[in-house]
């Protein structure tokens, strides 16, 4: 890069260095006449004039508006139902339960919320729980986990990372899974019942598995493997997180969904980006093509209310939603596309008018006579 200036001159050595300079004396120091060195590389020089910008505006406008409409329609076709069961109002069925602040309740509180669907949910229905005002993205909270422990590392199991402090050890025993995230695991149990017109309640089967990322379930999260396959034995010598009611190896009876690879845990461990978030809880699979997954009618949401949110004035929701190719219901993108498209189009029109009105003058200015 610096070959342009002679180092010798810089150092004053040019006074008497023979060597290569001897032959170089005959060589001209004329710079090469190459396109790069003479800065004559072929180039495209766009000029932002009305003539070049106007078509761009129109093209953007004409492309974005239809896309936006498409997105908006898609989003509107998604069925979504949200039920807030926080129970802050005295009229709410869960008011009683919500009065409890404490994590360490011996007795679990149950409440049920009735709701009805005006329209049937056709395809697979995703059941989420939503939390509001819950800062899962708090800097210290986000860090408070030990991925290697969750990956089944035995060493980390017994000696969790420092990042887990102050949820690392309890009573001299290492906490499994350690850290604040795991400690604050969402532990409400939601069950859905369909109130058939005849009055009977049928429980809707909820799939527990398949709610976490495949890579999380199979790569990131692993149960520690010891000599014996028994989880209880492996987790011997560890203790449950302080706020948990049961240890990690009792989260589920299904061995494929127990311990660290419990999908509820995995989903929870993926900390949400924003303080209002939802997390996938269960999936209601469509059975057969004949009937909708959730037909129109009355339903009851049975909740075992464990998770205290009053301390941070949070809200808890249950959300039922179908999804489209672009995910859940969110009209924003459609609106955004329509807006930006319209603005561009509008600007294009305005500029066109100005261009038309004054353009002849500026064109003539290109070639003053």
């Amino acid at each position: 890069m610096a070959s342009g200036y002679s180092a010798k001159e810089e150092d004053g050595h040019h006074s008497g260095a023979p060597g290569p300079a001897g032959s170089a004396a005959a060589r001209s120091r004329k710079p090469d006449n190459t396109a790069f060195k003479q800065q004559r590389l072929p180039a495209w020089q766009p000029i932002l004039t009305a003539g070049t910008v106007l078509p761009a505006f129109f093209i953007i406008g004409l492309l974005f508006i239809p896309i936006g409409i498409g997105l908006y329609v898609t989003s509107n076709n998604i069925r979504e139902l949200q039920i807030d069961y926080t129970g802050t109002e005295p009229s709410s069925p869960c008011f009683e339960c919500s009065q409890n602040y404490s994590w360490n309740m011996t007795r679990s509180c149950a409440c049920s919320v009735p709701f009805s669907l005006d329209q049937p949910f056709e395809s697979n229905v995703f059941m989420y729980y939503g939390l509001s005002n819950f800062y899962q993205n708090h800097r210290r909270y986000v860090k408070s986990r030990d991925d290697s422990q969750l990956n089944g590392n035995l060493k980390s199991l017994k000696d969790p990372s420092k990042e887990c402090e102050p949820y690392r050890m309890n009573d001299g025993l290492p906490i499994a899974p350690c850290g604040a995230i795991a400690n604050s695991l969402f532990n409400d149990t939601l069950e859905l019942f369909y109130n058939e017109p005849n009055g009977t309640k049928t429980q809707i089967p909820l799939l527990k598995k398949g709610i976490a990322w495949w890579t999380d379930k199979h790569v990131k999260f692993r149960n520690p493997t010891g000599d014996n396959a028994n989880l209880t034995a492996i987790f011997q010598g560890t203790t449950k997180p302080i706020n948990w009611q049961k240890p990690v190896y009792e989260l589920d009876t299904d061995a494929e969904n127990n311990g660290f690879i419990n999908e509820d845990l995995i989903v929870w461990m993926r900390t949400a980006a924003l303080p209002t978030f939802r997390k996938l809880y269960r999936i209601i699979e469509k059975r057969g093509s004949a009937s909708p997954t959730l037909p129109r009618g009355n339903y009851t949401l049975e909740i075992i209310y464990n998770y205290p949110v009053r301390s941070f004035e949070g809200r808890k929701r249950m959300i039922l939603s179908t999804i489209s190719w672009m995910g859940g219901k969110n009209p924003f993108l459609g609106i955004a596309y329509i807006t930006v498209g319209s603005i561009c189009f509008f600007l294009g029109v305005v500029l066109l008018i100005i261009h038309h009105k004054y353009g002849s003058r500026s064109n003539s200015a290109d070639l003053p006579h």
Binding site: P42, N137, Y141, N153, A180, V219, I343
Partner: protein, 1492 residues
Amino acid sequence: MARERAESSRAHRRTSKKEPKTRVVHPNVLYERVKGEENPNRHYADNKIKTTKYTLLSFLPKNLFEQFHRFANVYFVFIALLNFVPALSAFQPELSLAPVVFILSVTAIKDLWEDYRRHRSDKEINHMDCLVYCRTERGYVEKYWKEVRVGDFIRLRCNEILPADVLLLSSSDPDRLCHIETATLDGETNLKQRQVVRSFIDLDTEFDPLKYNSIIECEKPNNDLNRFRGYIIHRNGRRDGLYKENLLLRGCTIRNTEEAVGIVIYAGHETKAMLNNNGPRYKRSKLERQMNVDVFWCVVILLVMCLFSAIGHGLWIFQYGDKRPIFDVLSPEGTDLSPVVSAIYLFLTTVIVFQVLIPISLFVSIEIVKICQVYIIHQDVELYDEETDSHLQCRALNITEDLGQMQYIFSDKTGTLTENKMVFRRCTVAGVEYSHDANARRLAMYQELDSEEEECTSHGGTLPRRDSAASHHSSRMVLRSQSTKSHRRTGSRAEAKRASILSKHTAFSSPMEKDITPDPQLLDKVNECSSQLEYMRYHQQPLSQLPSELSDVLDFFVALTICNTVVVSSPNQPRQKVRMRFELKSPVKTIEDFIKRFTPSRLTSGSNSSSSSSLATSRSAPRTSCSLLPSPSAEGTLVRLQEERAPTAPESIFGPMLLTPQGPAGPPEEGELRYEAESPDEAALVYAARAYKCALVGRLPDQVTVELPHLGKLSFELLHTLGFDSTRKRMSVVVRHPLTDQLTVYTKGADSVIMDLIGPPAADDTKGKRQRKILYKTQNYLNQYAADGLRTLCIAKKVLSKEDYAVWLKSHLAAETAIQGREELLFESALRLETNLHLLGATGIEDRLQDGVPETIASLRKAGLQIWVLTGDKQETAINIAYACKLLDPEEEIITLNADSQEACAVLLEESLHYIQSKFLCSASEPSDRTFHSDFSAFHTPGTFSPTSTFLIHRLGLVIDGKTLAYALEKSLEDRFLAVARSCRSVLCCRSTPLQKSMVVKLVRNKLKVMTLAIGDGANDVSMIQVADVGVGISGQEGMQAVMASDFALPRFQYLQKLLLVHGHWCYSRLANMILYFFYKNAMVVALIFWYQFYCGFSGSAMIDQWFLIFFNLMFSAFPQLITGTLDKDVSAETLQDLPQLYMNGQNSEEYKPYMFWMNMIDAFYQSLICFFIPYFAYADSDVDLFTWGTPVTSLALLTILLHLGIETKTWTWLNWASIAFSIGLFFMVALCYHSSCPTCFSPSNPYWTMQRLLGDPVFYLICVITPIAALLPRQVASQGVYFYRACQGSLFPSPVQEGRQLDHLPPEVRRSLLSQSKGNAGGLFGIRPAHYAFPGVFQNHGAGGHVSCRRRGGTKHPPHKAAEKGGDCVPRTEQQDPRRCGPAPSEADTLPYSNPHSLAPSGPEDHLHTDPLLDPPGVSLVNRVLPCAPFNPQECVPLTESPPASSPLRPKGGENSPRSQVTEGQDFKERGDQVHPKDTSKEDFFQTTLL
């Protein structure tokens, strides 16, 4: 570095040695047997040089230490260390070190590489061979340079390079001389003589180091190349002085001397060459200073953001009160933190998180871009000079962008504007002028030839005969240059010069300078004179009977020939001086010698013997021949040839040429002698004399051989040479004239000094009258020469009686041997000799303008640059050169300031100021705005009219001489001086000293706060070059000192145009845009995180992965901006040169104004809002996790930033495309790799498989499309809006630069026709812009200011009047009077131009006022003359003109001494009549009408 080292070693010695004042050198031979510790020279530095900064061990600590001198580095290290505090740790501590380490290591690697290069070249030099005497071998053995020690004897052979500073003890030269070429030290290509130490001169046998047992005591090492003092103390206690003539300097090359032996005095780093060499300079550019302000603002923004976050966090915690939420994790110890403590911690955390706002890579990027820019400027073919094989050198690497912001140019004249190639033009001898018309025609022809760009080899047939001879001649020159090649390895520059003579006639001693066509009349006289002399000698008549005019003619040419230091060498043996030794005799050195040589008996007979021997030999030359040929072998042929042609010779003007040896007759190897002079005018004079067949054929220390027509070769015994110095401004030689046998002093010098030294003519007799007449006439011709822009020199002689000489010699010898104050004594001694001279004549030498100077000046001026010329030349010469190079316009009015005292100067300035004000007030009241913007830039838009830069007034030039300048630069007057000077379009300072030059530059730079550029070529410009913001050296003929001091070195002045207008503009706009972009980019990224703080409880959490965040600047977004910063061209080079007005863009800092920083910040914040909230809403209330959401935000930011750069990029080459594609590709590649590498690492983000999932998410693509467009929409609309806004306003183009860009798009033919049109009508290309739009600001202010000032003018109607009257009165009695009482109250005058610059608007062109600078009143002269034809009617200018100043201070000195030429409208200045004006009454009228 070298100096540092030398100093440290010196310091070390100082502690170890007792006597710090001098250095004592013993010969090493004596101590070879004893151990090293006993050697008294052991403390001196050896000859090994080491310019490296580091050793392997010291590299790391030392380099780090140096890097931490940069504040930014310390800051970033501090931030990185902050990360190690657990309570704060925002990032992984190790990771946060990465950028700092990266930056530091890049710099370290760069330093290491540079150091390695230095090491290699050191090694190469240290391992060169030289011969060193070895006692055991009893002879000289080869040793490496690095083994040479102080006290060693070394033997040097011809063409060897000196390894150290050596005291010359012996030379194979019979005169005990040694010639060295110092081109590498000072760039001067002529040979310099060095003399063997006096004690060893008479040594007959070969020097034997074993017998040497003296001790040398000399100065401590210092860097003054022209100074060396010391003694040599012999065993017997005798002391001999040592001078710089005895010292051979390291780096020089031995020439013309077969062998020399010397003792090493200074070695290695203590040599003068090494002490003189200081590395590249580091300056801080204006842009960088501006940038640093904005860096400071970035820090403020950072702190505000951190503070905001901290308070937010405190409040956020506070709102929960005691109900501690589950996600608010306790401190590791499990303790609860109070909101205040949390806030404080958070403040520090956010300082870490937001650190990116202070762009860590900015400094490194700027450095990289600047190096690339320097490289590209370097590579510009158009800045390459074929002739000297040199191209532009950027010596300062970090101020390229300053080139685009210059406002004032200070230029030297000689060698910068002119070629410094002196051509003899005309002369006057004994009061008779010889106009040399043929010579003038010949020169004109060269000029034409120069303009044709063909190879001269082909034009022999078509061009006139004279020219074919010239080309013939040139080809011989080439032959010679080839023969010299082998000898002159280092002189490649000079060689290329010679080789290129074929195509240009401008090289040193080119045919243009050498071939002087003699004036027939004068030639006749010379012939007549010498034939008479011949006759007289033949008839044994006393030579003094020669008519005085003829003897003057002869003496004139003899003086031209011998009164110089020209070295003669013959071309077939390059650098071998011609030996024509008739008698070996050293110059008079002692009184005894003098007495011996000048005893009466010798004076009669001895003198004959001395000259007769020479005459005897010279008589062998054919009598009838006027041969000038030095080599006897060729005489025969030439004589015949000349005899054949002789009869035709006098008739034809080409005749004399044919008689000269350059004629086609001689075979090339028999070519003429070459003269190598220290200054080009000396050579020009010698060549001129040769044209009159008075040729210098040999020069020895004690005699000069001259060949005269009819007389043959004459040897002048050279008794003394009193060299030229700038205070005496003359040089003299004392010779014994071989014909008259008189002791004669020939003096040559500046006319101003010589004329004063001319002895008063004898009172009344005719001779005295004649002398007076000659004096008077000569003075007239001198003035006329000066008016023609010629350099004038006077030649005088003096005949000394032997007694006088003896007296003088005694004192002179005393002075020469004096140890203390030798220089001063010699100076005084010279003064004693040079008195009572007899004037012989004067010469006019033309210094031709360099190619393209007028055009360059014109276009630089169009570019809004103020050009001041600071020269040491006399006023008339300077003014005329200024006219020639279009610096001054014949239509321009000139204010001349010549004052003899401080008070007079004050009055003058006051008057000029009032004059200027009133003049412009008058023109303001005229409703003529039609022409007012005519050659003012049509590009001025209201925004660009900044008061500091473009406050200039037309048609007004200021000329000030050195003496007045000295007064004007006094503290009390400098403001007034500036006020006057800045109102003038051009300023010319003549007779200024180097110090004044630098003071002027400093004054303008500091007071006006403008960017200054100084350009010069000689040592006298060095101080000015160093003071200016940018110093440019012309690597011309006057040596390398200017280049060494400069930031940029150009081969020719005209390249300045491209350097400034094109490269300067580009560098500035590129760098300005890049810096702004940098700020924008970092603010944009940081703002994203800042917005996020509102959604994470101000916890300092970042959704952008820390790796991305930290490498965002270093990797993902780094390359495109570097490419753009290096290669982007807003306007093409052609357009920039065709429309110099575009340069004002940089002058007014329009690419980077303070508000632009804030605009960019606002834009950055807006764009980050878009980039944040589109994904925010798109993913609102979804199951997205922190980093699956943050990664799209990062991608969006990157895309937006790159697209933004794309919009800012004006020129898209494949490199731009490639770099942007590379950046995007790199980001996704890195993300994909990073996100699949480790499932459990990179806590806390743990982004395993995130990007892979995102790539399967359609929403990601959807937001990627919409976000950049939405983010950049306002920028688009704004630029369009501005465009249309301007369009609506009636301005046809958005900005000059955009105009230029549009022009680039037009097909070349259209462009060309447009541009030529624009040049044709003075209104400029876009002159159709309505005038009222061009200067609305000016006009409004102008009107208002005009009113106010007019009223004020009415109020101050009297002071100027008084001032003028008083000015005249107070001059004579300055001592007693308070100077302030002489002048008017300065307040108004001072404040007006500064406080309301617009009030002084450019004048209308109606008032063609002409002033004549040639009036020369005794005390004060502010001379303004209006030509009667000027339409300007001062009566319109009501109050002030009623009171014309008394003309008393403006009384001309008298017609005799100040002949004036009258400028008439439209008449070329060169064609002015040379009639002498008597004091004419009309002039008084002029004063009355115009002087205020």
